[in-house]
């Protein structure tokens, strides 16, 4: 490892603010009295509901069946009785049907040691089937099975241990504590994909995670690579560019690169070797309005309010699901923990530094920060005038919604919001 690798231009260096949780071991969160499980915790359509009100469910039992591509199974995260089926708002503001389970009965999986299976005895198809049955979904909402099915054999599997969002340390802790499981997941994924090379990318500012990854990787023959700590280093296309030194043209899904984050890989490991579905996830609870910041391994469907309470909440200016760069400000703390929610941040006014929005002063900071060399302010103006086609012809589709532009905007123009809306409009 000589110099930390990186993508060629743009990006920003936000304050890290990881020290509060970076050295705290992941601990189990309290099991909630009620779990509210959305049937859509993935990019595709909501899963088809498999349960009725009043029905008893066991821990880990499927309650939703994948419906179409980019959809995934949903499992009961606690044993109990189905109390309600209703429409709820997810963190991103969209609606999803959800199943409310009230805790009752016995935990059949938790606390019972199981012997991990040697996955090498399984065929590619059987492995893929287990990943699918585990309902594993990655941080972008893409089901892991969809990633692994792929178009053809992949050349490079990238283990995304970057976590360049401020505050978040869950992936870093997973690498420190469970690198072997993460890399076992990577080995399974690489086998399914037929990927010849596996590279583990970790930012250079996380030496402990780098060391743990390097120790575990030796046994697998994987390469661990230190990357420059620069947001959005964890963005898939940029990560491939940083590691392979090659810009991906067209859709990443159709390229011969596959990127999976460490949390997803550990979930793949558990789904395959323990037949354990994804019913928990590691979530960083932090921010100045949190008394005891923590990395919690919590049951999906746990209300955000319960997790905040567990860590001690005091007078937040804003509560965010996800990281501060791309996460969503929550309008309700009843919002449940979902598969893609890697952080719950309660921020004070001093952390947010609110400022008055003004007109664009044309300073060009957004263009300098854009890792794709776009001119976000110009695109925003086109979109503001309804000229979606003009914005598309100026590269709108290359935008990966990292938010660097809005992060540096002196006029506080909601560039990220505007550009994502424009992209959705263009796609429709």
């Amino acid at each position: 490892m000589s110099q930390a690798r990186s993508f060629p231009s743009g990006g920003v260096c936000p304050p890290e603010r990881k020290s509060a949780t970076a050295s705290l071991p992941i601990r189990k969160a309290c099991v909630p009295a009620e779990a509210l499980l959305p049937l859509r915790q993935h990019a595709g359509q909501a899963a088809r509901c498999l349960v009725r009100i009043g029905e008893s469910v066991e821990e880990g039992m499927p309650i939703g069946r994948a419906a179409g591509p980019l959809s995934a199974d949903v499992h009961a995260s606690i044993p109990g009785v189905v109390r309600q089926l209703r429409e709820i708002r997810l963190a991103d503001g969209t609606a999803s049907p959800a199943v409310l389970i009230a805790l009752e009965g016995e935990f059949i999986r938790t606390g019972r040691a199981r012997r991990p299976l040697d996955w090498k005895s399984l065929s590619r198809g059987e492995l893929l089937q287990r990943v699918e049955a585990g309902g594993v979904v990655d941080l972008n909402g893409v089901p892991a099975a969809a990633r692994l099915r792929g178009a053809g054999p992949a050349r490079l599997l990238v283990v995304n241990g970057v976590e360049s969002e401020p505050y978040l340390t869950g992936d870093q802790r997973l690498l420190v504590e469970k690198a072997a499981e993460v890399l076992s997941g990577a080995a399974i994924a690489a086998f399914i994909l037929g990927a010849g090379t596996v590279q583990v990318g970790v930012e250079a500012n996380k030496p402990e995670a780098l060391r743990a990854a390097a120790e575990a990787a030796a046994g697998f023959g994987f390469e661990v690579i230190a990357l420059e700590a620069r947001y959005p280093q964890g963005e898939e296309r940029l990560l491939v560019q940083s590691l392979a030194g090659q810009r991906v043209g067209g859709r990443l899904e159709e390229s011969d690169f596959v990127v999976l984050d460490v949390g997803t890989l550990q979930a793949i490991h558990e789904a395959v070797t323990l037949e354990l579905p994804q019913i928990e996830r590691v979530v960083t609870v932090a921010g100045a309005a949190i008394r005891h910041p923590a990395n919690l391994k919590a049951r999906l469907g746990t209300p955000v309010s319960a997790l905040l309470e567990e860590c001690g909440l005091e007078d937040p200016a804003r509560v965010i699901a996800g990281g501060p760069m791309r996460g969503f400000a929550l309008s309700s703390l009843d919002t449940p923990l979902t598969k893609g929610m890697n952080g719950i941040l309660a921020l004070s006014r001093r952390e947010i530094l609110p400022a008055v929005r003004t007109a664009c002063i044309g300073c060009g900071r957004c263009a300098e920060a854009c890792p794709w060399g776009l001119r976000p302010a110009e695109l925003y103006k086109w979109l503001e005038h309804g000229e979606t086609a003009a914005a598309r012809s100026r590269g709108l589709e290359a935008c990966t919604e990292c938010g660097c532009c809005a992060f540096v905007c002196p006029a506080r123009i909601p560039l990220l919001q505007g550009l994502s809306a424009g992209k959705r409009e263009g796609a429709a």
Binding site: P14, A355, T358, R375, F407, A411
Partner: protein, 295 residues
């Protein structure tokens, strides 16, 4: 409606940028007032006061909000005041500032939508409206500081049309801070100064019959509003292009035009007019350097 991401921000705000530029003008303004006395202070005060008053009036009547908070009116007022001679009758800074804010900026929709730097527009408006009043003439010695003739004569708001060593240095110091903080883009003043110095040095001696490469460089660099125009007016983000190449071209254009206009008459105001002319080319420069990347 919940707050959109990102939830953190970095770097200056619009107000921060405007106030930093204003603060960087403060040393030169203080020096001018000390060296030239109450008349200079009155010019500055009237320019700033008129700028703020007009901004407030238009904001409240047209947009139903107070827009003084963005700091741009304060900066405009200071720039107008500093670019005028100290002996100017007080209606001149008032008219210049009012024209700058009301016509050059507000009539196009306010901050961010004007195509010419407001202070420049105001300054040029009074230049062409009352050329005789503003013509170069001896400065009345009335400063608070007892300065050797050479130093005082060269103050920013002085009558001789030259900036002088101290004011130029103070402006350069303020400008350097803006460049170091990356509030102003370095490409513009760099190209501006290089092009101006090169043309002056190469061709500046010709009108006097001195031949090539005999121009009077120090006099030219200290003349009129060169430092003010290069560091504080041409770098106005609203009216200058984005992108390195476009900024270098913009700055170079300002430099060459400054030289030409200086040779053909307008001694102190040449750089102002040059920047105003180049402001017109900004959309063209932006288009030439538009995004050409692919997916």
């Amino acid at each position: 409606m919940s707050q959109p991401a990102p939830h953190l921000h970095q770097g200056p705000t619009t107000r921060g940028i405007m106030l930093a530029a204003a603060a960087c003008l403060a040393p030169a303004a203080t020096w001018g007032a000390l060296a030239l006395g109450p008349s200079a202070l009155r010019v500055l005060a009237v320019a700033v006061g008129a700028s703020l008053a007009v901004e407030l009036a238009i904001g409240l009547s047209a947009w139903r909000r107070c827009t003084l908070g963005d700091g741009s009116a304060l900066l405009t007022g200071l720039l107008v005041g500093l670019s005028l001679p100290a002996y100017a009758p007080l209606f001149v800074p008032a008219v210049a500032a009012a024209f700058a804010v009301a016509v050059v900026k507000a009539s196009f929709g306010g901050l961010g939508r004007n195509w010419m730097n407001p202070a420049l527009g105001g300054r040029l408006f009074v230049t062409f409206s009352w050329p005789v009043l503003l013509a170069v003439r001896p400065r009345p010695a009335s400063g608070w500081l007892r300065l050797p003739a050479g130093l005082a004569d060269g103050s920013l708001l002085g009558g001789s049309g030259t900036l002088g060593l101290v004011s130029t240095l103070l402006l350069a110091l303020g400008g350097a801070y803006l460049l170091a903080r990356r509030i102003a883009a370095w490409e513009i003043p760099a190209a501006f100064a290089a092009a101006f110095a090169l043309t002056v040095w190469a061709f500046g001696g010709l009108p006097a019959g001195d031949g090539l490469f005999r121009g009077d460089l120090p006099a030219a660099l200290a003349s009129g509003g060169f430092a003010l125009a290069a560091l504080f007016m041409a770098t106005d983000p609203v009216t200058s292009p984005q992108g390195r190449a476009a900024r270098l071209a913009f700055g170079a254009g300002c430099g060459v035009l400054s030289f030409l206009l200086r040779v053909y008459g307008l001694r102190p105001e040449a750089p102002f007019l040059a920047v105003a002319l180049m402001n017109m080319f900004v959309p063209l420069l932006e288009r030439l350097s538009a995004w050409r990347g692919g997916r």
